[in-house]
Each structure stands twice: as C-alpha cells, then as structure tokens.
C-alpha cells in the first residue's frame, strides 16, 4: 500500500527543469531517505509533495486520491522544514498546539489547559523547557525538537517529512530524534528523511532515493549499498572520503595573536594563528565560536583583552577597518549575512572592490563584468551568466561567489564559519580543497568553525575546542576524535 505517491511529476522554473518526470512513492512503516546534491531537486520535490508547488505535469496521490484536485489531503503530510519556523514570542505550549488548540469555548485559548497538555509531549521528546517559556528563549536544539513535536502531535498525519532535521541538533538530541522517528515508524506511518549526512541515513533509514539534476537516479534498500555507492550516485563521480585537506606549508610566523579576549558569549580566550595554517574551532551550537570570531572581526563588542595582527595592535569594533586590513569573515548565515539576494552575481562580486573598477568617477560595467567572470572561472561557479540574481544560485555556488569576493580583497586571515552548511558532499570537497590551496599558496591564515567533527579533523592543522564560551582544549591534527568530543561537551574541563 502506498500512502503518498508522485507519478511522473515535472516542475519547471524559468530556465531550469527542477524536476524531470519523477516517480516516487512512500509506504507506511518505512523510513524513506532522500538525498542529492544542492540543486538536485529535493526542495522542489518536497514542495510538490506538500502542496506548495503545483507540478506542470504528473500527479500527486495521497491514499490513492489525487491531491492536486483535493488540497485538503495535503493535511495528511506533516512537514518539518529545515529552518526553524516557530513563533518566537509565543510560549512553547502555544507553538506546540497551533493552530489546533481546542480548549474551553470555541475561539478561546485556555493557557493553563494548553500547558497541561504540553507537559507529556515535552517529556516524550525530552525537551528540557517549561510549557510557558517563550520559544525565542530556548536553545536552538530544543526549538528543532519542538518543531518536530509540533508536527507529530497533530494526530491525523500519515506521512512525516523531515527536511535536514539534525543540522542544528547536538549529538545527544540527534539520538532522541532517532528514537522518536523509529517510534513513528512503528505506528505504521511513512517517514521521509532528507539529509546530507550519510552516517545518519545509514543509521536510520530503510530505503534510499538519490536525486541528481532534477532526476531520480537511483533507488535501493539501504541494506544492499554502502557510502561510496551513494556518493557515486549523487555526484556521478568518485569522491575520496579518506582524503585530508590540512595545510602542508605552515610557516613559523605568527599572523594573529589573541590574548585573554572576553565578550558577550566567550570568556578569556587566547590563541595564535600562523601563516598558512588552518585552525579549526570545534564546539556545540552556542559554544561561542561564531561570537568570538565576529567580535575579533568588529561585528560584535569585546569587553576586554587584546588582538594583534602581524604584531600590530588591532582596532576592534570596526568591520570596515578589519576588511581593509585583510581580516575577512565569511558568515554562517549565508542567506542573511553573506549574499545580497536581489543583486546580480556581478554586483555581489564587485561590491567589495568598487574603487578598483572605476573609470573616471563612474563604475565601469565592463571591468565589473570581467572581474565577475574571472571569479566565476577561478572558483568554478555554475551559473548561466553574471547578471543572474544571486539568490537563485544553489548554496554551494553562493558560497564560492562569497569566497571569490573575499579573495579580491587580498585577505591575510579568512574565517570560514560553517562553510559547508547545507552543502552537498561533492561541493564540500571542493571547498576543502580551496581552503587548503589558499593556505598553502598564499600563506593565508584560515580559521575554520565547524560543528562537523569529520570536517574539523580533515581540514585543521590544529583544533581548539570551546565549551560554553571557554577554551576547553587544544589539539593537533592527529588527536583522538573522542578526546575532542569530550572537550566540546564539557567532560574534560
């Protein structure tokens, strides 16, 4: 019995075939994983299966009925989006039951009743918050779990769809999530699990569908396949998982020296960065890694401590100074802080070097276009042209544009904050290679912030672990994974 089925669906966007005659079906009591590179069509598929988009061709069947004609059927698909999508200024309980709250007289909300109903749900999901707390005050990890709980308390659903649910979860919360998903499966519901993390897929899933360039390229039971097979299907080529990417040309010269730095979410941090070195910062979500780097960069305030770059006293609190003096921060929140969404790729690239692109007092469009093409060629950005709005590029290509833009400013220190968040395996390797090249060939000091232990281990010459805003340990590249893990969850300190 198929509960949710897409037959031969095709979805077009201007210039792109986002989904090309795709057949896919989901069965009750089965965890069906979906994987594919960025831009492979996963998001479009989700939107077609949840009724957000209508496909140009083909049909979507729910319980055997055509859901495009009868949209109420889409209520049977409980969808948990990748980004947190909760009401920050409402309580946990309200968020949990919206819009299904039925307490007291119709139209009235009985807060106490809601709170009482919320407690067992919070316990079941082991979310350590009170029902009357505001959602904006609870941790990102709890928010993510709450979001899943919200989808599941709605009793009528038949299909649970999770879109990259673990990106902001800690390791232990990921385990809780897995248990919940398994329970849902036992209740004979269908689960759709979309993820970039291959280990999770193999730990949890029953069957796997792989997408590439808008087409379904493979379908198999997970028992019969292994990780290299999946990567081959996804990328259409071999990617060596064992490859390491740390810099092999670390110089003795100290580039950046941070002493006893204290700011809003970090305390008393000291470290050094050498020329040509890749320094990894590991820690849990909220450990203060991004805040530390943003403070050195001048975006957030510093309370005390000092920073030196090339033995020169560093001016804090001025991003303009930092960029001019070769300290560049590539933000984790690419969509909000990295790209200028409705400007073209050309304008996104030229924005940081406009002085060099002048002819007279005008900005020369010719020079701008040349520069944009140079970046596109150097960093292998996949785009039809320089005038496309950057928001329409895939995450990986946006990231390459941002790196290219930063490189035009002749940086000495580059901070990569979660550079591969939401980026697929193939492109990830390209970005690692790029970091290695920049460090080795240009002598740039690179700081890599990442929540993925694999990534940190593969790319870093040294690793600093942060726990709740404090330095919990410093390791070299050969250190034990377990030791680092211990530090970031606060066991060693």
């Amino acid at each position: 019995m198929k509960i949710l089925e897409a037959r031969n669906i095709t979805k077009l966007f201007p210039g792109v075939v986002a989904l090309d005659s795709v057949d896919i079906s989901f069965e009750p009591g089965e965890i069906h994983c979906v994987i594919g590179e960025n831009g492979a069509g996963k998001s479009t598929l989700i939107k077609c299966l949840t009724g957000v988009y209508e496909p140009e061709e083909g049909e979507v069947l729910i319980g055997g009925e055509n859901a495009i004609r009868n949209k109420t059927l889409f209520n049977k698909v409980a969808y948990v989006p990748q980004e947190i999508d909760l009401f920050g200024y409402m309580s946990v309980a309200e968020n949990l039951f919206l819009p299904y709250e039925q307490s007291g007289i119709k139209g009235m909300v009985n807060q106490r009743e809601l709170a009482k109903k919320a407690i067992p749900v919070l316990e079941q999901f082991r979310i350590p918050v009170k029902p009357d707390e505001l959602v904006k005050d609870i941790s990102v990890s709890s928010q993510q779990l709450l979001q899943i709980a919200r989808a599941v308390v709605h009793k009528d659903y038949e299909v649970l769809m999770l879109d990259e649910p673990t990106t902001s979860l800690t390791t232990s919360d990921t385990q809780i999530l897995f248990e919940i998903v398994k329970k849902v499966k036992e209740e004979n519901k269908a689960v759709i699990f979309i993820s970039h993390k291959l280990e999770e897929i193999f730990a949890l899933g029953d069957v796997l569908t792989v997408f590439r360039n808008g087409k379904k390229v493979a379908y198999s039971s997970l028992k019969d396949i292994d990780i290299p097979w999946v990567i081959r299907q996804m990328t259409g080529r071999e990617v060596n998982q064992e490859q390491v990417y740390y810099s092999e040309k670390v110089l003795d010269e100290v580039l950046l020296e941070v002493k006893n730095l204290t700011g809003e979410r970090f305390k008393n941090i000291s470290f050094e960065l050498r020329k040509g070195e890749i320094l990894g910062f590991s820690g849990l979500v909220g450990a203060g890694r991004s805040e530390l780097m943003q403070a050195i960069f001048g975006y957030l305030p510093v309370y005390s401590g000092s920073v030196k770059l090339c033995d020169q006293e560093w001016k804090l609190g001025d991003t303009n100074y930092s960029v001019k003096h070769g300290f560049i921060y590539l933000p984790e929140e690419r969509k909000k802080q990295g790209i200028l969404p409705v400007l073209s790729i050309r304008e996104n690239i030229s924005i940081s070097v406009l002085d060099d692109l002048k002819s007279g007092i005008n900005i020369s469009k010719k020079k701008e276009t040349e520069l944009a093409w140079r970046v596109i060629d150097t960093y292998d950005v996949k785009t039809p042209g320089v005038d496309k709005e950057i928001q329409f590029l895939s995450g990986g290509n946006q990231q390459k544009v941002i790196i290219g833009r930063a490189m035009n400013c002749n940086p000495q220190v580059l901070v990569f904050d979660e550079p591969t968040k939401g980026i697929d395996v193939g492109t990830k390797a390209e970005i690692y290679r790029l970091m290695k090249e920049l460090a080795e060939e240009k002598g740039i000091g690179i700081i890599l912030i990442s929540s993925e232990m694999e990534e940190i281990k593969k790319c870093s010459n040294r690793i600093i672990a942060l726990y709740e805003g404090r330095k919990a340990g410093e390791y070299d590249a050969k250190a034990d994974k377990e030791a680092i893990l211990g530090s970031i969850i606060g066991v060693n300190s």
């Binding site: 077009l12 210039g15 209508e54 960029v323 909000k336 969404p341 409705v342 924005i351």
Partner: protein, 333 residues
Amino acid sequence: MNKEKVKTNNAFVNALKKSNMTAIGVVLILMIAVASIASPYFLDIYNVQSLLRDLAFVGMIGIAQSLLLLVGELDLSVGKVASLCGILSGMMMVDYKINPWLSFLLALTLGLIFGGINGLIITKLRLNSMVATIGMQGLYGGINLVLTKGKAITGVPEEIYILGKGNWGPIPFPFIFCIVVLVLVLFMVKKTKTGRYIYAIGNSREAAKILGIKVDKIRIMIYAIVGVISSLAGVLYVSRLGSAQSAIGESWPMNSIAASVIGGVSLTGGLGNPAGALIGAAIISIIQNMIVLFGVNVYWQSAVSGIVVVIAISFSSISEIMRERKQKKIKLN
C-alpha cells in the same frame, strides 16, 4: 523535456521583470491619453504648466523618499522639514532683511542639518525610522507653530517669485529643479560606489556591515540628502506662494511614499529606481488634475484620489495575480 519552451518562458519572465518601470510608464502614457480625450482642457498649455508645477514638488520629495526606501527606511518628517525651512527662509528675508538668495542657501543648509539630525538619532539610538520621524515631524511642526503662531509670513521679496512661479521657456522652474535633482540622484545611485552601497544595505544590512561597508555613515548621509531636497522643495514652494506658511508640505510624506511604491520601489529595500518615483508622482498629479478638470464634487475629491492611488499601487501585483491565474487555467485544460 521541451527545452525550447523553458527558454522562451525565461525570456518572457525576464522581460516582464525588467519592464517593471516600462509597465508603469505605459500606464502613465495611457492616463495622459485618456485625460486628453476626456477633457479638452487637459493639454492646454496653462493646465500642463500647472500640472508640471504640482508634480515637481511631489516628484522631488518622492525621489528623496525612494532613496530612503532603497535602504529599507522612510522619513515621515519631509513635509515638516520643508515647511520649517520655508518659514526660516521667509523670516530671514522678511524679518532680518537677509539677501533672498543667501537666505535660500542658508535654508538648504538647515535642511541638511535637520535631515542629518534625523539620521543621527535613528542610527545612533537604533530607532525605527518610521516611529522616529513621526516624532521628529511633531518637533519640526511644533517649532513651525512657535515661530509663526500659525500666521503666514508675507512680504517675501518679489525677485525670488521667479523660482516658484516663473518658467524657463514653457517649462516651470520647479520642474527643472526636479529634473536636476533626479539626474543627480540617479547618477549617485547608478554610477557611484555610494549608490552600490545603498542597494547593498537595502538587500541586507548585516551582510553590508560584514562586507566592511560603513552602513551608519551612509544612512546618515541619505537622511541629510533627503533633508536638503525637502528644504529645496520648501523654499521653492514659498517663492511659488509668495509667502511662507506652516501648512506647506502636509500631504508630501504620504504622497512621496505612494509615488515611490507606484514607481516600483520596494518598501523592504534594495529594489527599485528613483526615476520610478517621478513617474509615480506624475501619475498621482494627473489623477488630482483630472479630478479637478472633471469637476468632481469637492467633498468626494479625496475619496476618489485615494481609490485611484490604491489601484495604481496594486497595478504590478494585479498583473502578477492575473499571470498566475492564466497559467493555472492552461494547466487544468
């Protein structure tokens, strides 16, 4: 898959997107055509001149407002800054017998300062621009009343009447000023570094700061520019009326925002062209002109102009809705 179909679709959509301003330009031409058919007086040289004179003021303020909208902010004190600068120039000329041209220059400088103050408090105290400028317009309006006690300042030297009432050839002087403002603003926005930074800030203030752009400096600068343009409109209006009054510019904040939005400038920032604001201002002025020409009942004038403005603002989204409907229909058949 039919690749060709995809391609034409793409070109069509691109054309539509780029034609954001062309579409509203077409509306303007249609309105002119309808107006000139419906009323024999519309194309009368006297009517056209008075139309251009009206439109110059809404146009100038609209162009200024569109700059702020591009960085995702707005200024509701433009009208009061204009009337305050007008009154101050009037007082300088009449009460202190300062040379009229010098008074005008001083008034423009004051406009720069008032705008700069707006910008400073909004950026340094991190205020919401709408709320802050509602407060500031109360302040500027209040100073107005204190200075004039509600009375108009008459006896402005006649030599400056030419700026407001005079023509250069057939073209009213205020309209020439408006075009000069547009050219300068367009140059800044489209050709200079500052212009790019304005769009960048409007796209994402956080990203702009991370790129090392001096976000607050540019925001303050725009508020100051808006102050100067408001003040220019104010003193031109004084020379048009021949007296300085605190009622000058009362409708300008709302009309300037409406003009910008009709002209395709996004309220959330980063998208649009100041030239669109001038087209929007032209549409608003023609509506008001037609209402007068058609002899609409005085009590109904405001209601009618309100409805037409809402229709004009909805124009672009209505065409979008129609297109979606059409696509859906094709699909179902």
